[in-house]
Symmetry: C2
Subunit: 457 residues, 2 copies
């Protein structure tokens, strides 16, 4: 019976295992999991730490039992130490340090990512946390359980940073978010990032942007965080959330090719340069559907999709990864911020001729209670009219996320901005407008591109 | 200066006028409006009658002033009596019965629809209402204002019927909904319609299906509604909401071709068989993108899109209507029910080989508070794998409407069910799952189509 071995038991690894067994129920599938938490939703840690999710066990996408019921063998608390792609074996060490070699016919590397460590002095001391693994979550929860709320500094205003700012605020901690770049949530353009910063401030969070944190020093019973421009903040808890980098050391040591981000190079079949060795998830370069080249864009949804492709091909399938659009969304208190595709600067760099137009539109007819404004930015190519990307910020009840998904589905199909008006979208006054917000934004873009529409005729 | 004349001041007519002026700011544009309410959202009447929208004036998409500011001439309370397509004139009568002929270079007919009158005896008596125009709304509101709530019967469990059942319940009226067909909301398949009926019952509405209402008789100070199977209900108010039929008499009298539903035949350019005469909205046959033929599907969103095309072409443009997918949505108390594309029976009739699979999925990760189940039905072609349609029912906070729009965007682009898994959709635990509900439903469909996936490889 052929043996598919998978290194890594998070999103990509388990998706690969499940798909492989689905495609070929006769395949032997083994997953090596470094900790005891296979298939946990680490994206959910902020909600558990916020107290919104009561039990950390609920963070499991599936229980170990459910995975094993699919005929998948889980090897928990084992670490892959070395891959021999010639002999087709992996050296695996258990908790007690005992090593053994496991043979494979096909291998999937899904070793994920680790937190980026910014050049800040003093990251090693007690009270400074990263948040990536279940273990990181437990360590942080332990502090939150015993300390009465004093003050927290979150370094990094990205998704995890902002979710943790909210979580700590909900736990009663006064929070300062400090971001190196000039605006918050720099995955969006600054005008939209500013709306998110405004929401944070409205909820009592202090937000400092354009500050390079330089050092964290002990100061009596707490820590002093210092940065550029005279930034100083006292904290009993510092959370560093400045992104991740791929964990590809195991692959690189085996001669598997990595790219400029240090991520594993893969084809659209998710195959590495070594035959019968696939890789997926946060440890790989991701094919971008619009850029038509690889990029590093670690996201849980992408990891699931890539894992599924790797699993299908690991079971002798012929699936191809259709590419990412960088679609992503975050909820920050009462706001949701989402994007898909390219932003203006990214499009320009990729030799498009981008035009970006921001529009304010209502999520539904104003005469029905509870209407909220949506802030929509549409990026399109001025020359061809092609849709390149969209960003939306709006109230959490305003269907921001699935509106970005309408843009994402249009982008996937290479639609023009103008063609968005041809879409037959659903309308009822409590939920939308006769031209949906997506289409009103498209019309604003067209108006800006060619104010005299006769030119088009 | 060329003159574009438009008959009808609701969604299609005003959309045509606005687009024509946008495309050609030199064009003279006149809109003949039968009542005093140009560009009112008649879809909003149930919400005003419910008391959710305080002022009926708020139902206007735009005020008359805003329309006139675009250089559009509005002729309120005028009725078009006859079209002379040879002489290119329209006979128009004002409130006082004075008639005059207006010349046009191009004409758009947007005369809308009127309520269907089912074969029920006694529809003419006081206490029996239809709901189509602002005037209908005022008449009903007058009764609601003076009568204390006693009992209401709504005939027809379609969109307007259910919205009005909710509205009257909110006004304190005990309501019975009676439907001729075997389930409620028959724009959806019965298992989903049953969920909607269950919601209505949970909110105190009596629902009777499979009942043909035969007569409405006066009985003392109220009405007695009688129907098949011994159905009898007392009511002080009967609302008849059994759909609409196209108002195309004016066009037909001028020799303009109509089709089997009595609706005006138009090309994808929204042109009738008479040159320089266009038509749009609820009075026309609508091109269906999947059926590749015309159908009668009167919807506000479609009227807007068709009006825009007619207006662009009325201004010498060359736009084509890309077709409807029948996308529609309704909110009924705490539920939202939406659909796009073809249902199983419709697909079979159109010579597809349909397979429909119903799945229950969560709208977001269950570990985050407020997760709701979505009931998703996906219809696809068994032979080709092509996506043909989708229906969703779920909680009003579960982004049902925009999830159906993701399906609608996929349908527009002729995607296969399987390709839905390739979409890069947004994910964050409070709003979605790593495979969005749309994709989980697609996977369930694929599993049912070919349980042994190896066949596909």
């Amino acid at each position: 019976m052929p043996h598919l071995l998978i290194i890594g038991g998070s999103d990509a690894g388990i998706s690969a295992a499940l798909r492989a067994r689905q495609v070929n129920p006769a395949l032997e599938v083994t997953v090596i999991v470094a900790d005891g938490y296979a298939n946990y939703s680490i994206c959910g840690l902020p909600f558990w730490l916020a107290g919104e999710t009561a039990d950390w066990r609920d963070l499991a996408h599936r229980s170990a039992g459910e995975i094993e019921d699919q005929g998948i063998r889980l090897l928990l608390k084992r670490t892959a130490q070395a891959i021999d792609p010639t002999g087709k074996t992996v050296a695996v060490v258990d908790e007690d340090g005992r090593s053994r070699r496991m043979a494979y016919d096909k291998l999937v590397i899904a070793t994920g990512a680790v937190p980026a460590r910014p050049p800040i002095k003093g990251l090693e001391q007690p009270g400074v946390f990263f948040l990536r693994t279940m273990g990181d979550g437990f360590a942080l929860q332990e502090l939150l359980a015993v300390q009465s709320p004093t003050s927290a500094v979150v370094v990094g205003a990205g998704y995890i940073g902002l979710e943790m700012a909210e979580a700590l605020t909900r736990r009663g901690w006064p929070v300062t978010v400090v971001e190196y770049l000039p605006s918050a949530l720099t995955t969006l353009d600054a005008p939209l990032g500013d709306l998110v910063a405004e929401e944070l401030r409205g909820q009592g969070v202090t937000v400092a942007t354009g500050v390079a944190v330089q050092r964290i020093d002990p100061q009596g019973s707490h820590l002093l965080v210092s940065g550029s421009g005279g930034f100083r903040a006292q904290a009993n808890l510092v959370l560093v959330a400045t992104g991740v980098r791929p964990e590809a050391r195991l692959a690189a040591a085996a001669g598997i090719e990595t790219g400029k981000w240090g991520a594993i190079r893969v084809s659209q079949a998710m195959e590495t340069n070594m035959s019968d060795v696939y890789a997926a998830g946060d440890c790989v370069e991701t094919y971008h559907r619009l850029l038509e080249r690889h990029d590093y864009l670690p996201l849980g949804s992408t990891a699931h999709r890539q894992g599924r492709i790797a699993g299908e091909n690991g079971a002798d399938g012929q699936a191809l990864f259709s590419g990412t659009l960088g679609t992503q969304v975050v909820q920050v208190f009462d706001l949701v911020a989402a994007r898909t595709g390219l932003r203006d600067a990214e499009a320009r760099q990729a030799n498009f001729d981008p035009l970006t137009v921001q529009t304010e539109v209502w999520d539904h007819k104003v005469y029905y209670p509870g209407a909220h404004r949506l802030y929509v930015r549409v990026t399109g190519d001025r020359r061809t009219g092609r849709l390149l990307g969209a960003q939306i910020v709006g109230h959490r009840t305003a269907e921001v996320s699935k509106r970005v998904d309408v843009f994402a589905t249009a982008l996937f199909n290479h639609m023009n901005v103008e063609a968005l008006n041809d879409l037959d979208l659903s309308y009822t006054p409590p939920l939308s407008t006769p031209w949906d917000a997506v289409q009103v934004a498209a019309q604003a873009w067209m108006e800006k591109r060619a104010p005299d529409c006769r030119n088009r005729l």
